[in-house]
Symmetry: C2
Subunit: 209 residues, 2 copies
């Protein structure tokens, strides 16, 4: 099975080869995989920054636990959730759905109202958590797409979101850095290459009912 083969090939890359870059052609495929991610109601309330600029990555490194992957990788993906699900965003989604599927907008508006109503039931903390968690589905697709293309990646939560938001000007766009992933190609001297994966056994991870 391709996915299992790819998942076994990949690992959280600690040391990237600074001389190798991901091609534009591959970047387009990675973007497509992210674009096709599922999200709650299909809203996709996030934006993904793809940072190649070395100066900006130098600025991000000290607020990323000084991890070398930030600057050594080919590109840095920053998954940013919108801080709120605004009525405008939901209306926009409903409008796009009507246009894409050639449906009557009037008939879809009830669904938009339903989404708004459901989101209003969430506390602010629940809403923030919900918005952030959607980006993890997009991250997962990035990692799987990378693995199929034999591109290395290192998903990371070890960074300071507030500092990222400031450096990248996310605050004024209503965005928040949720999770990041440098991607590129493993350095042959990465001492973690080939390390056995540590995973819970089936009997601890699953329960069949």
């Amino acid at each position: 099975m391709e996915l299992l083969k790819n998942l076994n090939w990949r690992y959280a890359t600690k040391k990237f080869d600074t001389t190798k870059k991901v091609s534009n052609n591959d970047l387009e495929k990675l973007k497509e995989a992210i674009q096709l991610s599922v999200s709650s109601y299909g809203l996709q309330l996030y934006k993904v920054l793809i940072i190649e600029n070395p100066e900006i990555r130098e600025q991000l490194k000290p607020v990323s636990w000084n991890q070398n992957q930030i600057t050594d990788a080919s590109h840095l993906f920053v998954f940013c959730n919108y801080k709120d699900a605004t009525p405008e965003a939901i209306d926009g989604f409903i409008k796009q759905t009507a246009e894409t599927r050639n449906l009557d907008l009037e008939r879809l508006n009830g669904y938009g109202d339903f989404i708004k109503e459901k989101l209003n039931e969430k506390t602010p903390e629940e809403k923030t958590s919900w918005l952030k968690s959607q980006t993890y589905l997009a991250l997962g697709n990035l990692l799987n797409a990378c693995a199929e293309l034999k591109i290395d990646a290192c998903p990371m939560e070890g960074f300071e979101p507030d500092a990222y938001n400031k450096i990248l000007g996310l605050d004024k766009k209503g965005l928040n850095a949720a999770v990041i992933a440098p991607i590129g190609y493993r350095h042959h001297e990465d001492h973690t290459i080939g390390q056995q994966k540590v995973r819970k056994p089936f009997d601890l991870l699953f329960q069949e009912i």
Copy 2:
């Protein structure tokens, strides 16, 4: 590219064929894909229930917005995060890492302390959000594995976690139902088959820097 082909094949299945069951052989592969999911520090602080039992699914349906997929699908996957990252769980992970990789436990304990320290910096709300979001990475892998095996799935947040926790006895195990996915095979009468996907265009979804 296989993943893109699979992502385009899949859709959030609204009507399952009640006569078709996912084979045990395929279920094992799905479990493997979930097991290989990335998670923060590699901790995998969740458990996945795979529910086939019809009576339990009948009980879950009314607390799942009465969605038919709960009972009609072949199996219902319930991704449950642990409500806390206990020191014991982290110690267990460190021990397993030492054993799996044949490393000196003493040398790894510092890393365990580092994880505990970092987690202590999170507010209770942040910790809950962090624990839940890890299950979305596992859900993503389930969906991608299903798509490769031409198994249909419908990721869902439309259910009442508290009721699930009660019915499934999760509370007393320190677990919380975070996100669910019925899986099986699409019914040929599902009116949503072949609907055009609604996705944000690249220029709204990505920013290259």
